[in-house]
Structure formats: structure tokens, C-alpha cells
């Protein structure tokens, strides 16, 4: 009996040790980014990469912000409307597909869902030409349009799963009360939808903010989102590592902050992406 307790104690200690070591490993990039960002040009050296900054300085963060700031603004201007539009469309679609099934509604769901998985390279050439012909190439408005449309599959999926959990009885009672399709949506479904909007909103914001392919294909300076600006800074031979890391930090700050405060909802979006939810 004694021995078993001792073994258990050892096992638990090993478990925590393992978890802590693994967690620290996952945090290495954060450590590197933060300490490198806090070094100024004089303090940056290849041989002291791992050491803490002796005199922490915000010079590289300042310099990164000077280069990245306008693009950061572009990303905000892009991500917020695109998130709102695609979430609203997703909510309407999810309502129709979960509560008003009709013959073939599953086929419609499949047709919508497939758009989520395509490699976007396969639509890029026509997309560029169409945006160009309607005057939206190289504009934030064009990117908003693109992200709103290609966001429809995932927002529809999340809302369909979310609304499926709402019992049909509620809908039936609405019908008995004499409110129709839109009345039930407005007075019953929409008030219950806040968690659904939080999940889709966070997910879409993260996806749009982090997107690179559409951004790099459809915009030129100075209209580029922050991800493209970051790659340009990182690809430039003249920019020091401290400024590169500071740029990486700035570019990921909004999504990281959202994750830190609303991580639970982010994970729900993550799991919803696996179709069944």
C-alpha cells in the first residue's frame, strides 16, 4: 500500500514536470520575440540571442511601428467589417439550414461547405480579374468583399451547429404564437445568438487578420494589410532582427489579445471547423 502511494506521487510529479517542460518549449518563440524586440540595434548580436536585454529599450518597437503602423490600420479597416458581414450572413444561413430544412438542404450545405476547403489559388486568377474590372483591385473594400464571401462556409457551419442545439420546441411555440420565419429569427433566435456571434466573430477576425494569400495577391503598397508588411520587413536585407521580431510581435498582438481574453470561444471555433462541431 505504501509503495503504491509513493509510485503514484512519483507519477504525478513526472506528469507535471513533463507538462511544464512542454509548455516552456511551446513558449520559446514568445520568449525569443519579446527579448529580441526589447534590444536596440547596438545590443543585437547573433551570439547573444538567448540572453535577456541588458538595457531594455523600446527603440525597435518604435521603429517597427513607424514602418508597420499604416498597414496595421489597413488590417483593422479590413478585419472588422469582413468579420461582421460574414458573421451576419452565417447566422442567417445557419438558421435556415438548421431550423427550416427542406428537400435538398443537405446538398446546399455541402455546396456551401466545400468552399471552405479549396486552395484559394484555384480561384485567384478570375478573382483578380473580376476585382480589377469592378475597380476593387488593390483596395481594402475589395479585400472586405473577398473575405466576406470566402468566410461564408465557416460562419454558416458554426451557426448551423450552434442553432442545432436550440430545441425545435421553441420554434414550434413561435409558430403557435403566429410569428413566422423572420419573426422567430428576430424575437427568438437572434437573442439567443450572442455566444454564436462571439465564436464566429473571434474566429473570423483571427482568420482575416492572419490571412496572407489574398492580401499579397490583391493589394499593393500602401494598401497592404499588416501580414504583407511584416513579410516585406522580414525579407528586407537592411532590417535588423530586433525590428523584425518587434514587427512580428505587433502584427500578432490583436489576435493574441483576443485569444488571451476569449480563448474559450476561440477553441469552440477551432472545433467547429472539424465539421461536426
Amino acid at each position: 500500500m505504501e509503495l503504491r502511494l509513493v509510485l503514484r506521487r512519483i507519477n504525478r510529479t513526472l506528469l507535471y514536470l513533463l507538462l511544464v517542460v512542454l509548455a516552456l518549449l511551446y513558449l520559446v518563440p514568445i520568449y525569443v520575440v519579446v527579448i529580441t524586440s526589447l534590444k536596440d540595434n547596438a545590443a543585437i548580436s547573433l551570439s547573444h540571442m538567448w540572453s535577456l536585454p541588458v538595457h531594455p529599450s523600446f527603440a525597435s518597437i518604435q521603429s517597427a511601428w513607424n514602418q508597420l503602423g499604416p498597414n496595421f490600420g489597413n488590417s483593422i479597416e479590413l478585419a472588422i467589417p469582413a468579420t461582421i458581414i460574414s458573421s451576419l450572413i452565417g447566422s442567417l444561413n445557419g438558421y435556415a439550414l438548421s431550423k427550416w430544412k427542406f428537400r435538398g438542404s443537405n446538398v446546399v450545405f455541402f455546396i456551401i461547405l466545400f468552399g471552405m476547403f479549396i486552395p484559394y489559388q484555384s480561384v485567384l486568377i478570375p478573382l483578380l480579374r473580376v476585382l480589377d474590372s469592378i475597380g476593387l483591385y488593390n483596395t481594402i473594400a475589395g479585400l472586405i468583399l473577398v473575405h466576406s464571401i470566402y468566410g461564408i462556409p465557416i460562419t454558416t457551419l458554426i451557426f448551423k451547429n450552434f442553432y442545432s442545439a436550440i430545441p425545435m420546441e421553441i420554434i414550434e411555440s413561435g409558430k403557435i404564437d403566429g410569428v413566422g420565419y423572420w419573426g422567430i429569427f428576430r424575437h427568438i433566435i437572434l437573442p439567443l445568438s450572442i455566444p454564436g456571434f462571439v465564436v464566429t466573430g473571434i474566429w473570423q477576425f483571427t482568420q482575416v487578420w492572419n490571412n496572407f494569400l489574398f492580401a499579397v495577391s490583391l493589394t499593393n503598397p500602401p494598401n497592404q494589410p499588416v501580414t504583407v508588411a511584416l513579410v516585406n520587413i522580414a525579407g528586407s536585407q537592411t532590417v535588423q532582427w530586433n525590428v523584425q521580431m518587434a514587427s512580428a510581435l505587433l502584427a500578432s498582438l490583436p489576435t493574441l489579445i483576443v485569444y488571451i481574453f476569449l480563448g474559450k470561444y476561440f477553441v469552440r471555433g477551432l472545433l467547429a471547423g472539424s465539421v461536426k462541431g
Partner: protein, 326 residues
């Protein structure tokens, strides 16, 4: 929750019956709600794919559009190139290694966290947070950590390693079997990309596995324990088989992510020397927008799409069918 499902199903059935008996305005609204999305996706997904397919069959390989019919010429041209052959090797090698690593690490992390540990949500958050940053951020950061002149190599040097790896700058391919123009094997440079990609995506596998583990009822495990099964035996004979559907989901989603990988490569290595880290997505982008070989770029993207569809379509159909039966 479970007791609710029975009446819920019954009501669904009655709605279905009612639908056939009379034309309902509400179902008309339901279809109208979906119509704009169907039209938009019809154009922007299906129409554009069709258009891309059409472009891939033309002679449009310069800055000026030329829609004269070329048959499958572009496909033959693309498949003959050293670059595209390297792409196919890279994407197969990368996808296999990526999925295996994410599954092993993700399942391992999920099992550790499932042991009723303290501060569970903190650990979970740490393993998942890389999912919240952009692939290009990951690429930029890891190209600094795996820079051969510093980063990890400093640590290895301090530990007494003589032959320090050159990470994503390596051009070595192991085992290096010549097939046609290219060497078949694992390009070592891809392992550097793999480390970054696994850091970013293993948390996804962990989250899905954790949800799967939580779905297995304690009764089954307890029954097995009473029957005298040890921890390992319970894991292999009871837990693992129950996670089969979860594993399918993980594999499909990770395959889709892997086939699409673009920003990470772009930010970290580019196509690499001798295309050791090139991918079809990268090749398509450069062929089309930097080389103005639109028809060839379109052909590459069609091949990529077909590979993706081969995985996704059966998966979607089977999951949607399951959902219908339930």
C-alpha cells in the same frame, strides 16, 4: 441532454411531414435566405474554379491574355518541370510528416492534460495559442530561431555538437534516390518548416483529441479496470479504438491545412535552393503573378484542387450523411 433528444427528433419529423402537405411560406423564406450565399459562392467558388480550369487549357502564358485552346499542353509542361516534380515530392513528404507529428504530439498532450491536472486550462491555452497567430508570423519567428548562425544552433554548439544543422538552408535530401530529374527522399530543409508548422498546429490536434477523450464514458474504462485490465491495455484496447472517428477528422483537417501551406513557406524559406522547400501553392503564385504564365499557374492550381477534393469530398459526404441519419 440525452433525455431531450428523443422528443426533439419527433418534432423534426412532424415538421417534415407538414412540409409535404402544404407549401409553406416559411420554407420559401428559408430558401430565399440561402439564395444570395449560393449565388455568391456559385460565382466565386464554382464559377471561378471552372474559369481557372478553362484558363489552364489556353495559351495564356504572357502578360497579354490569349484564350486560344491549348488542350492539356500546360499540364504536360508543368509535370515535366523539375520544379513541379520537386513540389509533388515536398508536399507528399511534408503532409505525411506533418500529420504523424501533429497526431502523436497532439494525442500525447491531450492524454497528459486529461489526467485531471491542476491548472488544466492554463496548459491547454499554452498549447493552443500558436493557432491564434498568423502563419507568416510563425515563419518570421522560426526563421530567426532556426537561423543556422544563431538560435538553436547556439544551444547545440554549447552542448558540444560538431556538425551543426543548416536547417532551412540545407539542400540535402535523405535518402536521395534519383527518379527522373529529381531526388526522392526527405529534404532536410523541410524539417525546419515542419518544426514551425507542428508548433503552430499540434494544439489543434490536442484540442480535438481532448474533446474525443472527454466523450468516452468513464463506465467503459471502469468496467475494464474491474475486469483487471491495466492502464496500457485500457489505452490500446478501449481508448484508442474509440478515437478512430476523431483521428479521421484530425487527418482530414490537417491534410487540408498542409496542402494549402503558403504563408509559412513564403515567410520562412521561399521556394528554397533547388526547390527543396517549394510547394504547389508557392509555385502557382510565382508562376502566375511573377512569371505571368497564367495558363501554367492555372494548371498547377487545378492539380492542387483535385488532390484536395480527393480527400475532402468523401469526408464531407460521409459526415453529412451521418448527420442526416442521427
Amino acid at each position: 441532454m440525452k433525455s431531450e433528444t428523443v422528443p426533439l427528433k419527433q418534432t423534426q419529423r412532424t415538421t417534415k411531414l407538414r412540409k409535404h402537405s402544404k407549401i409553406s411560406w416559411d420554407h420559401f423564406f428559408s430558401i430565399t435566405t440561402l439564395a444570395p450565399s449560393i449565388i455568391l459562392l456559385g460565382v466565386f467558388v464554382y464559377g471561378f474554379i471552372f474559369w481557372t480550369g478553362y484558363v489552364s487549357l489556353t495559351n495564356w502564358n504572357s502578360f497579354i491574355p490569349d484564350f486560344s485552346f491549348a488542350g492539356l499542353k500546360n499540364y504536360f509542361l508543368v509535370f515535366e518541370t523539375f520544379r513541379f516534380q520537386s513540389d509533388l515530392r515536398n508536399i507528399v513528404v511534408f503532409t505525411i510528416l506533418f500529420i504523424i507529428s501533429c497526431i502523436v504530439i497532439g494525442l500525447f498532450l491531450a492524454i497528459l492534460i486529461d489526467q485531471k491536472v491542476k491548472a488544466e486550462s492554463l496548459f491547454r491555452s499554452i498549447f493552443i495559442f500558436p493557432m491564434a497567430v498568423s502563419f507568416v508570423v510563425t515563419g518570421v519567428i522560426w526563421s530567426w530561431i532556426l537561423n543556422p548562425e544563431t538560435g538553436v544552433n547556439l544551444v547545440l554548439k554549447a552542448m558540444g555538437w560538431k556538425h551543426l544543422p543548416s536547417w532551412f538552408l540545407s539542400t540535402t535530401i535523405v535518402p536521395n534516390i534519383t527518379v527522373g530529374q529529381i531526388q526522392i527522399g526527405i529534404p532536410l530543409a523541410l524539417l525546419a518548416v515542419l518544426i514551425a508548422a507542428v508548433w503552430q498546429m499540434s494544439g489543434f490536434a490536442m484540442a480535438v483529441y481532448l474533446a474525443g477523450l472527454r466523450g468516452i464514458s468513464d463506465d467503459i474504462k471502469e468496467a475494464a479496470r474491474i475486469d483487471g485490465a491495466g492502464s496500457w491495455r485500457i489505452f490500446w484496447s478501449i481508448i484508442l479504438p474509440q478515437l478512430r472517428a476523431t483521428t479521421t477528422t484530425v487527418i482530414i483537417i490537417l491534410t487540408a491545412a498542409s496542402l494549402k501551406v503558403f504563408g509559412l513557406i513564403y515567410a520562412m524559406t521561399g521556394p528554397g535552393q533547388e526547390f527543396v522547400t517549394d510547394m504547389p501553392s508557392m509555385n502557382m503564385f510565382q508562376t502566375t503573378f511573377q512569371g505571368n504564365q497564367f495558363a501554367q499557374g492555372a494548371a498547377i492550381s487545378v492539380v492542387l484542387l483535385l488532390i484536395m477534393a480527393a480527400f475532402i469530398v468523401p469526408y464531407l459526404i460521409s459526415t453529412l450523411k451521418q448527420g442526416e441519419d442521427e
